[in-house]
Symmetry: D2
Subunit: 424 residues, 4 copies
C-alpha cells in the first residue's frame, strides 16, 4: 500500500514479464515482444507448476512469433539466463526513477541547508539539548548522506549490472564456436555490460546492488526520523506541508505522513538485504533454492527503497520550517546549553577541574531553582571574579558558539554540486 | 511466482480488503460487507495518499451502507484498530490452509517413517558416510520437526491472536462507558479472543506468530534440503514423482522441483521475521513507521511459509524411495562405515587406544589400496587373534548396528498420532 | 561493553566450558569436573584446529580423571551431543538471571502503573498529541508486554529445552541395547527433559528459544524507547534517577543511559534470531556449517536480551515521573487534544459531518491565531447555540475523557499478579 | 571458537582499546599510548556504568600522561569521536589480514583454475548432472567471485573509511576558529582520510563496509559449499588435505573441516549486516541506542568474514583433486549428460520438436532399462537414419562439448592478474 513513485511500475509483475521478453528478444533478435500481448496471470500459474516462469514464457513466445523465427527463441539459453538478465534489466529500469527521487530529495535538502544557515536550534544528543547547531547544518548532514548513497547506487548501476548468458551449465556449449560472440551481441542488445564470465552462481552483483540499496535506505531513514522528531507537538520545529493525510477525527494533528511512510519503507530493507546475502552460496552450476529465493526480495528491495525515496522527496520538498520555534526551544534551558563554553572560558585562569566543578554546580542550582543560568553564574564568586555579567551573557549567546557549522554546510553543498554535475 | 497452495488466496490483497471490511462490519454490525463490491485498486491508490488504507475504506463503506447505518461505521475505532484486527483475521484464515498443508506433509513423512524402518542407508555427517541409519529414522526426524512446528503454530492460533480495539489512543474514550462492553462484542463478532488490553503498541502477538512461522520454515526446509541431497544424480536414493517441471532440454534430469521451491520459500522467512521483530518498539500510543513497516512482511511471511508447506507436502506425498540404491551406497565404503563398531569390539581385550589405532590403520590401508575393509582387518595380527573372519563379517553388517533407530521411529509416530488426535 | 547483569557470567566462555564438562560428567557419572581446573584458552586454540571444542575437552578430561573412569569419558556420545546439551544448560542457566531481571522490570512497571492512574498526560500518535491518557496506562501497556514475553520464555524454559544424546548418527548404536536407558539417565543427571528423539538435526528447540528471546527484546525495547522520548529536554515528563553516566562536559544533560543501553542491546536481537533461523536446515545426520554457525549467535542472543533486561530493570526501578510536566504538556494545545470529544457532543444535534466541519474549522483557527480552543469554539454560532461555555470547558477537561484507561490498568495488574503467582 | 587467522588479533578487545588510545593520542599529539599499560577489564567494567568505554579511558589516560599534557587529552572531542575513529582504525587494521587471506584463497583458486582446464566433470544444476564442465571452470568462477569481493573491499578501504571529529554536536564549537585545521591534522595523524563533514549521525560509511563484507562472505561461502558437496563420500571428487580435524571415532571420514568452518563463519554475516543497516537512522546529533548497537556487530562482522577467509584459504590451498573420479562420475549416466547435444545435432534434419521427442524417448528408455544411451539411440530409426554409431559416440564424448569453458578460465585468470597487479 505504501509503494510510491515511478519505481512501482518498474518492478511490477508486468515489468518483470516485459524484461524477460526483452531478454528473449535480445537473444532471438525478434523485436516484437510486448508484455501486454501476453497473459501474465496464466504465465504465473504455469510457473507455479514448473518452479520458474521462463518455461511458460518461452512456450508462449514461440507460439507468438511462429516459424521460422520461433526456432531461435531461447536458443542457447537456460531459464536462469533469462531470469538473471531480466533481473538486471528490472534493476536498471527501477534505478532510474529511484535515483530521480533521491535526487529530488537531495535537492530539497540542499535548499534547506543553504537557506537555514542562520536558523539556530538546539543540537540534541541522546535526545537531550546539548549544544547549539543550525538547521542548515542538520540539513547538510542529511544531504551528505543522501549524496553518498546516491553516488554508490550510480556506481553500481554503471559497473555492477551485467547481462547473463551461459547456457545450462555456464559453458555456452550449445552455441558451439559462437558462444562468446553471441554473448557479446546479446549484452549489447540489452544495453547491459558483458561480464567476464557467466555469473549464474557468482552472486556478488546481486549482493553489491543489495548493499547499495540497504545503505540508501538508511540514508533516507535518517532525515525522515529527524523530521518525525522535530515535528512532535512538543517540539514543533518543522511540519510537513498540508496534504490529504491529516487525521480527520483529530483535526489538531499535523501528521508527518510522508516521513512516517519513508521510515516504514526503509525499515523493510535490512531484512531483504540479509535474505539476498544469505542466498549467495549457490550450489555447483545452479542453486537448488537459493536462486529462486532471490526473486521476490530483489524486487521488493527495489520497490521498498524506491518508495522510501519518493516519500522522502515529498516530505522534504514541502517541509515547513519554524525558525522562531527553533530559537525559543533553544532558549528552553536558559543558557544551560552553553555550559561547555563557560567552562572553557574559565579553565585558563581557574584551572580545568575547578572550572568544571563551578559550572556544574551552577547548572545544578539553575535546574533545581528554575532560575536563569546567567543569574546563578554571576552570583558565584569564582565565576564573578573572572567574568563580568556582560561576558557571561555573551558566552551564553548561541550565535557565537556554532563552531564550523557554516564550513560544513558549504562543503556539503559543494559536494552536492560536484555530484550533480557528473554524468548520470 | 512460487506462491502455492490455498494460502495464496488467504493473504491476497482481496483477502486483506475483506478482512478489513469484516472488522468494520463487526464494529458496525452491518453484515453486508463483501470485498468484491469494492474497488481494491482505487482503495490502494487512495491509501498511498493518506499513508493507510483504512481511511478510503471507511469512506467507501459509509457510502455503501447509506443512512442511518452509515453513522455507526468505524464508530469508536481508529485506523489501526481496523488494520490490526484485520491482520489477525488474515492470519487466522491463512493458518487454516497452512496447517492443512503442514499436516499433509507430516502424514506423508509418517508414512515414510512407518514404511521404511528396514530401509538401511548411510547416515551422513558433514556429508560423509558415518554410520548406518534407516530411511525410516530419517523420515521420523523430519516428522518430529514438522509436528513440533505445527503444535506451536496451533498454540499461537489458539491463544496468540486477538481482536484489537482501543480508539485513537488506546483508551476507548469515544465509546464512553460502553468501551469495555463494545470491545467484548466486537471480539466475539470477529471470532477472535478479547485481549486484556489493547495491543496497538504492544507487539508480542505479532512477534510470537512470526517466531512460530520462522521455526516452521526451518522445519520445512530440513526435509526439503535432505530430499535435494538424496536426489543428487550421484546419490539417487530418492526422487520426486514425475511432474511437469522436468527439464525439457535436459531430458535425463529428474529435478526435485517441489523440494527446491520449498527451500526457496522457506529461505525468505528469517529476513521477514527479523523485520517484524525490528519493528516492535512502537513509539507512545501509535508508531511512526514501525507499524506501517509490518504490513507487507506480515503477509509475505504467511505466504512464504504457507507456500513452503504446500511445496513440501507435494514433495513428500510423491516421493519415490530407492531402497536398493540406499543399500548399495551404504556398501560403497566396503564396511568402513562400521569402523566404530569394530573398535568397540576390540577395546575390552586390546585396550581402547590400541583398538582405535589398529582399526584406523586398517581403514587407511583399505582406502589407500581400494581393498575390502574385512580383508584388511583379518590380515592384521592384533585383530585376527581376537576376531574370526565370521565375527568381522558380522560386525561389518549394518543391520546389526542400528541402535535405537526403531524406538525413535516408534516414538515419532506415537507423538504424531497424539498430536493428530488433538482438537485442531 | 554493554553486557550487563548476571546473565554475563551465565554465557561467558567459562560458563560454556563448565556446561560442556557438566555434560561429559553426566555422561560418565564422573562428578569432579570443574571448569576452573581446565585451560579455556588452550582448549579454544585447539578447537580452532579441529573445528569444534569438544575434541580437546574430551582429551583434557580423559587425562584429568585418569583410569579407570577415563574409559567412560564421552562413551557413546558424539561432539554434537556435548555441544547441544551444553547449549541447553547454558540457556537454562542464563534464563534464570534473565527472567529475574525481566521480573524486576515488570515489578517496577507494575508500581508505575498502580501509582500513576491519575497522572494524566498527552497520548501521542505518530508523535503528535492525540487524546489524553494516563501514565498509569502507559506503564500498564509496558507491563503487559513484558509479562507476555516473560510467560513465553518461562514456557520455553519449561518445555522447550532438552538433553541431546544420539551418538554419531542419531541412533545411539554404540550403546547397544542400553541406548534408551542411558539417554534417560543422562537427561536426569543434567536436570533437562529427555526428548522423544535426538534433535541434532531438528532445530525447532533452538528456533523456539530464539523466537521467544526476540519477542522479549521487542517487549523490552518498547518501554525503553518511550522513556527516551518522554525524557527529551523538550518533553521532560520522565527522567532516569541520577547515576554515574551523566555527561561530564555537558552538565545540564540528564542522559537516559539505561534506556539507551537497553535499546542498543535489544536492537541486536532480530539479526541474531534471523541467523539462528537461517541455520535450521541441517544436512542429513549432521550439518556442514549450519550447526557451527549457531554457537556464537546463540550465546550472543542470550547475552544481548539478558543485558537489555538488566538495563531496563535499572531504568524503570529508578524512573522519576514529573506528573506536573505531564499535565502542562497536555495543556500545550489549549484543549485541541479534546477536539474529538467536542465533535461527538455536537454530532447528535448538528449532524456528524457538520459537527466535524465546525470543530475542524475552530481547530484550524485556534492553531492559526494562537487563541484558546474554548474561546474560538464559543464564538462559533453553530457551536454556541448547542453548547454553553461551561459545557465546552467541561468537554475540554481531559479528566473526563480517559475512557477505560483505569480498567485496562487494573487488568494489566491482575494479569501480572496471576503470572507472578505461578510456579517459576 | 571458529575465529581464525590474524584478523582475530585485529578486532580483539585489546585491539579496540589500542585504537581508542591511538585516537586520543592523535588528538593530543601524545605519542606514548600503549594499550598494554591500561587495564582493559577495569575499563570495560567502568564502561558498563557510563554506557560507553571512552569516559573511563579518558580518565585513565589523563592520569597516565600527567600535567601539562593531560589538559589536552580529549580536548575538543566527544566520546563518539573517539569510538567512531577507533572503529575506522580497527576496520583498517582488520582489513589487512582479511584481504591477505582472501588473496591467499584467490591465488589457490587461480592455481586450481589454471591446472584443471582439462579435468572434465559433471556440471550439476539443482544437484543433477546437466552438462559437462571442467574443474578449471568451476575454480575460475570461485576465483572471479573472490576477486570481485576483494576489489570492492579494497575500494571501501581506500575511500570509505574516514576519521571522525565533530565535538559534542558536530560543530567543533569547542575548538573555536581552529576546528577545521585540527580536524585535518587529526585525520593525518590517524592515517585516515578527512571527511567533508562529521559523519557521527551519517552512517553510510558503516553501511558500505558492512555491504562489502556481506558480499565477501557470500563469495567465500560459494566455493566452501561446493567443496563440501564435491567431497561427499558419494561424490569423492575433492578432499581437504590431511589435518588434525579428522574424526577420531570414525577413521574412514575425511571431513572437509576448513570448508565447513568457512561456511559457518560466513553464514553469520547476513544477520550482522542487517543489524548494522537497521541501526542507520541515528536521531538528531547523537543516536539514543542505534550507535551503541553498532559496536559489537561491527567487530563481529570483521571477525566472522576474516575468519571465513582464513578457513577458505586453508581449504583451497590444500585441496586435493581426484580428476579420475570426476571422469568416472561424469560417465555415471552413460552419456545422458550429452542429450542436449544429440538433440541439437538432429534438429536441422528432423525438426526441433521431433528431435527433442526422439531424444527424450531414448533417454527415458535408457534410464528405465539401465542400458547405454548410445545403444538405445542407435536402435531408434529416426536417429539411426541420421547419425552413424560413430557420430553418436562422438556426440556423447564430453570433451567435445565444453563450449567456451576455456575462454572463461582464461578471462578469470586475466582479471585476477590485473587485480593482483594493482596497488593494494
Amino acid at each position: 500500500v505504501l509503494a510510491r513513485g515511478a519505481v512501482r511500475g518498474a518492478v511490477s509483475d508486468l515489468a518483470w514479464l516485459q524484461a524477460m521478453l526483452d531478454v528473449e528478444a535480445a537473444l532471438a533478435r525478434a523485436q516484437a515482444c510486448r508484455a501486454d500481448a501476453f497473459d501474465a496471470g496464466a504465465i504465473g500459474r504455469a510457473a507455479a507448476g514448473s518452479g520458474n516462469p521462463v518455461v511458460p514464457i518461452v512456450r508462449a513466445l514461440t507460439v507468438a512469433v511462429g516459424d521460422p523465427a520461433g526456432r531461435y527463441v531461447h536458443l542457447g539459453a537456460t531459464s536462469q539466463d533469462v531470469m538473471d538478465s531480466a533481473a538486471m534489466l528490472v534493476a536498471s529500469r527501477a534505478l532510474g526513477p529511484l535515483l530521480a527521487d533521491v535526487a529530488g530529495a537531495t535537492d530539497a535538502a540542499a535548499s534547506l541547508a543553504a537557506g537555514h544557515r542562520g536558523s539556530r536550534m538546539a543540537g540534541r544528543t541522546l535526545l537531550q539539548h546539548a549544544l547549539p547547531v543550525t538547521f542548515g547544518l542538520v540539513a547538510a548532514v542529511w544531504l551528505n548522506g543522501l549524496d553518498r548513497a546516491s553516488a554508490r547506487l550510480r556506481e553500481v548501476r554503471r559497473s555492477g549490472l551485467a547481462a547473463q548468458l551461459g547456457g545450462a551449465a555456464g559453458t555456452l556449449a550449445s552455441l558451439g564456436q559462437d558462444g562468446i560472440a553471441v554473448a557479446g551481441v546479446f549484452a549489447d542488445e540489452l544495453g547491459l555490460p558483458e561480464p567476464a564470465l557467466p555469473w549464474h552462481v557468482e552472486r556478488t552483483r546481486i549482493a553489491e546492488l543489495a548493499g547499495a540499496l540497504g545503505s540508501a535506505a538508511g540514508a533516507i531513514a535518517k532525515p525522515a526520523r529527524d523530521v518525525v522528531l522535530l515535528a512532535q507537538t512538543d517540539v514543533g520545529e518543522v511540519r510537513e506541508g498540508t496534504r490529504g493525510g491529516d487525521s480527520s477525527t483529530l483535526p489538531q494533528k499535523r501528521n508527518p505522513i510522508a516521513a512516517v511512510c519513508a521510515i516504514a519503507c526503509a525499515d523493510r530493507a535490512p531484512g531483504l538485504v540479509a535474505t539476498l546475502l544469505s542466498a549467495m552460496s549457490h550450489e555447483h552450476q545452479r542453486a537448488a533454492g537459493s536462486w529462486h529465493a532471490e526473486w521476490r526480495p530483489f524486487a521488493d528491495l527495489l520497490s521498498a527503497v524506491g518508495s522510501a525515496a519518493a516519500w522522502l522527496r515529498d516530505c522534504l520538498t514541502h517541509l515547513e520550517i519554524d525558525a522562531e520555534r527553533m530559537r525559543s526551544n533553544l532558549a528552553l534551558t536558559g543558557g544551560l546549553v552553553l555550559a561547555e563554553r563557560v567552562t572553557a572560558a574559565l579553565a585558563p585562569t581557574l584551572g580545568r577541574l575547578a572550572a568544571h566543578d563551578a559550572v556544574e554546580a551552577a547548572a545544578r542550582e539553575a535546574i533545581a531553582s528554575g532560575r536563569g543560568f546567567a543569574d546563578v553564574l554571576s552570583e558565584q564568586a569564582d565565576v564573578a571574579s573572572r567574568l563580568s555579567r556582560e561576558e557571561i551573557d555573551r558566552l551564553l549567546d548561541p550565535a557565537g558558539y556554532l563552531g564550523s557549522a557554516d564550513v560544513f554546510v558549504e562543503r556539503a553543498l559543494e559536494a552536492h554540486r560536484a555530484l550533480a554535475g557528473e554524468a548520470p
